[in-house]
């Protein structure tokens, strides 16, 4: 019977050239990597990006430090690949964030009023996030959608921690402006 192996053991064995052990990691992380690639803007090419990232990750396993979590390390390669893809196509990252369409049963278009309002509000938020500058959208995707910590986000995007903090707060501020009517938002700061 096959025993489940943990990430650290799989990495160690893959380092020694064990492709079976590496396949365990590929299977375990494909969904997360794909979600990250798609949401960071790889669009239809997300599968290609993830495949390339897994191949590179294997070749760079020698640089992986023992005890480091595999997920953020892999996602950094995924994020690099996504960036290389969008840059080499000389286009903005695909506007990746969208909600399932109402017809496909994702949201209730004719349910109770509060459900409808919540769905509208959600759609506005998606549009607002899509309208943010690239870097601010990326940082929100990492922090709140891929649920990475600030330090992990810094690692994945290859930014200093300070940039993660400042871009996050700038992005949240912009969304605040979009979501809250200005009149209700007076704060006295003196």
């Amino acid at each position: 019977m096959r025993r489940a192996i943990d990430d650290a053991e799989a990495v160690a064995r893959a380092c020694g050239g064990d492709l079976d052990a590496y396949s365990v990691l590929v299977a375990r992380y494909t969904l997360r990597a794909h979600r990250a690639a798609f949401l960071l803007g790889a669009g239809e090419e997300s599968d290609d990006v993830v495949q390339e990232a897994f191949v590179k990750a294997f070749r760079h396993l020698g640089r992986f430090r023992v005890g480091e979590p595999f997920g953020p390390w892999l996602l950094r390669i995924v994020a690099n690949e996504t960036r290389n893809l969008t840059r080499s196509r000389r286009r903005r990252a695909a506007l990746a964030l969208r909600l399932p369409s109402a017809e496909s049963g994702g949201t209730a278009a004719d349910g109770p009023v509060d459900t409808v309002l919540a769905a509208e509000r959600r759609a506005e938020l998606v549009a607002a996030v899509n309208a943010l500058p690239d870097r601010e959208r990326q940082v929100l995707v990492c922090r709140y959608i891929l649920d990475l910590s600030e330090a992990e986000t810094a690692q994945v995007l290859g930014w200093p921690l300070g940039s993660v903090k400042s871009r996050t707060s700038r992005a949240l501020n912009r969304l605040r402006g979009l979501l809250v009517p200005v009149e209700q938002d007076r704060v006295t700061n003196d």
Partner: protein, 257 residues
């Protein structure tokens, strides 16, 4: 103050809820495809060949990588598509080489890397994460510049036998792209530098710096002078630029430590 954290919490929790609802297309099962590529059954992928120094470090793969690079270069040069002006891209030691259709854009005559400033060698070494190599063959550099918050160090030699010579050093072995070069691939040849692989690029070409988060730094775009050699050690990637021939460039490179 409480008001401020209140609205932040609200936006953050809305973002998290939104994240759970977003539509993401299903992922393909990639286990077999990845395995096939690692076993070497397929090598080309979406027209981009990526080669970091890391891939070259391990011997068996290094040979395979050299063959792939040679084959790709040969194919690009030999086939009509290679000349007809389809965009071709490949990466080597932190440098992305692209061949693009159409006339070359005309870069500014004076250009610098973001945040470029002079510094002493000792200070520079404290600011960067890689060991700075100095080529003994050129003597003491006339100036040392550090750029982009310690991401790149440049040694400038103003008066040498070969005119002005510039050596840029960066952590290109970590699989990030630092420079983009728009080249004619028929001017690119593979060379050996200290037993590792390097690329020799004949003639001027457009050079653009790529920032940490993957954007082209427009103000850095310029035409290079003379010829360029790119190579990497285990810890640092280097590009040497000046009016020098291949033999001189290789001699300078092998004196860098």
């Amino acid at each position: 103050m409480t008001d401020r954290t209140g609205w932040q919490d609200a936006v953050e929790s809305e973002l998290r809820a939104m994240g759970r609802e977003l539509a993401v297309p299903p992922a393909s099962d990639l286990t077999a495809a990845v395995r096939q590529r690692l076993e070497g059954r397929t090598v080309r992928h979406r027209g981009v060949l990526a080669m970091g120094a890391g891939a070259l470090r391990r011997r068996p793969r290094r040979r395979a990588a050299l063959i792939v690079l040679a084959a790709l270069l040969a194919a690009l040069i030999a086939t009509p598509q290679g000349r007809a002006g389809i965009t071709h891209v490949f990466r080597f030691a932190g440098v992305e080489l692209r061949q693009e259709p159409g006339p070359m854009p005309s870069p500014r005559s004076s250009a610098s890397l973001p945040g470029e400033r002079p510094i002493s060698l000792e200070q520079a070494q404290r600011q960067v994460s890689f060991p700075i190599l100095v080529p003994a063959a050129l003597g003491r550099p006339g100036a040392i510049m550090v750029s982009d918050g310690g991401r790149v160090v440049s040694l400038i030699y103003r008066r040498t036998l070969y005119g002005q010579v510039r050596m840029d050093e960066f952590a290109g072995h970590l699989d990030q792209v630092y420079f983009e070069k728009i080249v004619n691939l028929s001017n690119v040849t593979k060379v050996e530098v200290n037993g590792t692989e390097g690329l020799w690029i004949k003639g001027p070409h457009e050079l653009v710096y790529i920032t940490r988060d993957g954007y082209s730094a427009r103000a850095s775009a310029r035409l290079t002078t003379g010829n360029t050699l790119i190579w990497a050690t285990r810890q640092v990637a280097l590009r040497l630029e000046g009016n020098l021939g291949k033999t001189a460039a290789l001699a300078i490179a092998s004196s860098a430590h």
